[in-house]
Amino acid sequence: MTIRIFYFAALAEQVDCRSEELETDATSAGELIERLRARGEPWQSAFDSRTQIAINQHLAGPDDGLGDGDEVAFFPPVTGG
C-alpha cells in the first residue's frame, strides 16, 4: 500500500526530508518507524521515544494501524503557544 509521510521541525532537518510517498507493508506506525530506521543514518537516530506520530492529521501512537492512502507525520514534541 501507499503511504504519504510528512516530517517536521528538527526531525525534518535531521533526515533532510519534508515529505515522501512510500510503498510499504508496515501495518502500524511503529512498524513504519522500524522500516525507516533500517535505512541507516541519519534515519536510524532521528527517531526516538519522544518522536510524536500523527495519522491522518490526528495524534496517534506506535500501535495504531495504517491503511492504504493514509497520511502519516513524524515530529518532535510540539512547542507552540
Binding site: 510528512f6 490526528h58 507525520a73 510540539v78 512547542t79 507552540g80
Partner: protein, 152 residues
Amino acid sequence: MKLIRVQQEDFDAGILLAELRAGRSDIGACVTFTGYVRDLNLDDDVQALRLEHYPGMTEKALEAIVDEAVSRWNLSGAAVIHRVGELRPSDQIVLVAVTSSHRGDAFAACEFIMDYLKTRAPFWKKEQLKDGSSRWVEARSSDDKAAQRWDR
C-alpha cells in the same frame, strides 16, 4: 461561537472579543490568554522566532482542544488565534479567549486550552540568536505536567 485561526498576520484581541461577544448580553465573564515572543531564552538574546506548523492538522488539533473544553465547561464561546512564520520579540504569538456566564468556567477552560495547545497542537519554534545561529526550542516537562493535570 467558536473561532479558530492560524495566520501569519498580527491580530487585535479587542476585535476578536467583539466578534465573540456579538449579540450576546448573557455573557458575564471573559478570560483571555496572550502569549508573546520573549527576547531572552537560556540567557541568549533572541532576535527572531520562526514558527513552523503542520497545515491541515493544526486547525483540526485546535478545534479538537476547543471542543473538549466546550464539553467540560459551561461556555458561551471560545477563540484561538495562533500565528506562524517569522516573529520578533514582543510580538503576539497566540490568543485564547473564553466567554462564559461563570468566571470559574472561563478561567479553567482558558488555562486548559493553553495547556493542551502547548502539548498537542503541531507548532514548533525555532529561535534566531544574535550570533547568527538558530536552534529549535525544546519542549518542557513543565508543559507536560501542566497538561496532565487535566487528564481524566
